[in-house]
Amino acid sequence: MSTLGASTTTTRASVEAALSGRKRDIGGKVFSALMMSALLLSLFILLILLVSVLQEAWPVLSTRGMDFVTSNTSQIDSRAGVRQGLVGSLILIGFVAVFAIPLGVAAAVYLQEYARDSRLNRLFITNIRNLAGVPSVVYGILGLVVFVQALRSITGPDVYGRSYISGGLTLAVLVMPIVILITMEALRAVPVAIREAAYGVGATRWEVVRSHVLPYAAPGVFTGAILSLARAFGETAPLLLVGAVTGYLSSPSGRTPAEILQGQYTALPTQIYAWSKLPGPGWQENTAAAIVVLLVAILVVNTLAIILRNRYERKW
């Protein structure tokens, strides 16, 4: 594609120069500037967003620094911190990593490498594409009915089902279609010749997938997995439905891992939401500071995705 694009550009330039001579195409320039300004305006909005959040967050971040990151929730704005939210969000995306990514990759391998192009399978793929477009709040309702209410005895008998398990599984269900679609895309990009070469020396289908297709598709699969973790990290609406705590949360020490997972939880984005509703400049600054923490975390995850992608792409 890129060589084709380059040749069009040179063809265009030479033909244009020959035809228009020295006359300049003002309308064309204006049009091109208009298109570019659409892009630059998006950049500008992003910039304003970051600057205004940083400005608002600065007093908290500069005076409290790491204390803000390591403090628990509190009723007093000058003592509240995001530790529980940050830890909660990390545990929640742990569920996504453990459930959604392996299942999603496996489903993608089946649909792309095993399934025939039958009507049923096409319906399957259409269904997954649509699932990826279902609003996240609807997944919240699913989590509420299935994990919080129906499976309460497993997910959290003491907290009415409003536990890490419910929240984590809801997020896992939410990002699974995205994992499937991105993985399928990565598998599709592996040249057929590679598969044929492996079949040619007598490999079974699974051997072809495991030792040839998956390694070559790895950068794409990794990127997809990490981006879906970032997506889960920032999701708020479904967590409100499956009962993330929006107020004060006590986290007693000395609990077993199972007790923690079945216990009450909060997440960084839900904390941001709750704080944004509280009155007073102190809470507004806290909200902005928490947003900075969230954005930094997502930026780190995204950068990790890009580094991984680049490293593996060089091999191939």
């Binding site: 049009f31 477009g133 699974m176 920032g234």
Partner: protein
Amino acid sequence: MASMPIDPKVTATSLAGNPRRRRKEALIRAGLIAAAIVSLAVSLAIVLSLAGEALIFLSRVDPSTLWSGIWSPRRGDFGIPVLLAGTLWVAVIAMAIAGPLGLGAAMYLSEYASPRVRRRLKPIIETLASIPSVVLGYFALQVINPQIVQNLMGATNTFTIMAAGIGVGILTIPLVASVAEDAMHAVPDALREAAYGIGAKQRTVTIRVVFPAAISGVVAGLILGFSRAAGETMVVAIAAGATGQAPLRLNPMLPGQTMTGAISSLAIGSDSVKTTDVTAVNPFDALYFVGLLLFIITFSLNLVSERFVRRVRKNY
């Protein structure tokens, strides 16, 4: 060449391969199918959990309260038109922002930007896409509403549908841009070269050749954007003044309630306690009905857009 003696031990069954290897193959295949079926189970679970609870709600509620002009579940007013009007306003305002900006950015990236510029500018759009909606909600409330909606448009409220719509629009730009860019990128270079060959300017080629050829994809992007905007929750929950009750308002400069906002405010409210009277209407159950409505609307929009995308693929 001497003819090879046929080994009498080679039979049809010995060509079938190692039985252990085949067993393993079948096992893995079954595992992968199971993973793919989980995704189908998820969509079934969504439909069942929404439909079941929504039907219970519908069987108890007085139908006339569904068409009233007031949304106030606690008082038994479930005015769906209030939510539909709010959702429509937010989606329309969002598309007024994301449509031109997204399409302009897509056109610039696909037709005007050199590969080098493209590589540098595309990450900006991707960064915008990775910003969590709760952050945009804060931005809409703290910056867009006071600076733009109040200053430039003369609104006086702290919460407005307009600010929420603009915030949702910013969130939707990357989606519209990427779907439209994919579609324009897929237009074969031969079409462009043919147009240049008969002396067309770049602007003419973009508007009269590439754009019409990619129109299905562009429309798909706009529909997907609309669907995404209708399902966006956090921006509305923070910036639109989505509270437990709202009258039917057609003025976007006032606070309002959308379907997603109604779901989230019901979810965090204290109505979730089931009443002991099993025949009474539980206000909380309205959440399922609204969720089902939202699901049906976004799902049909996604199906329509999928059809448009397929048309692009068929052509090229």
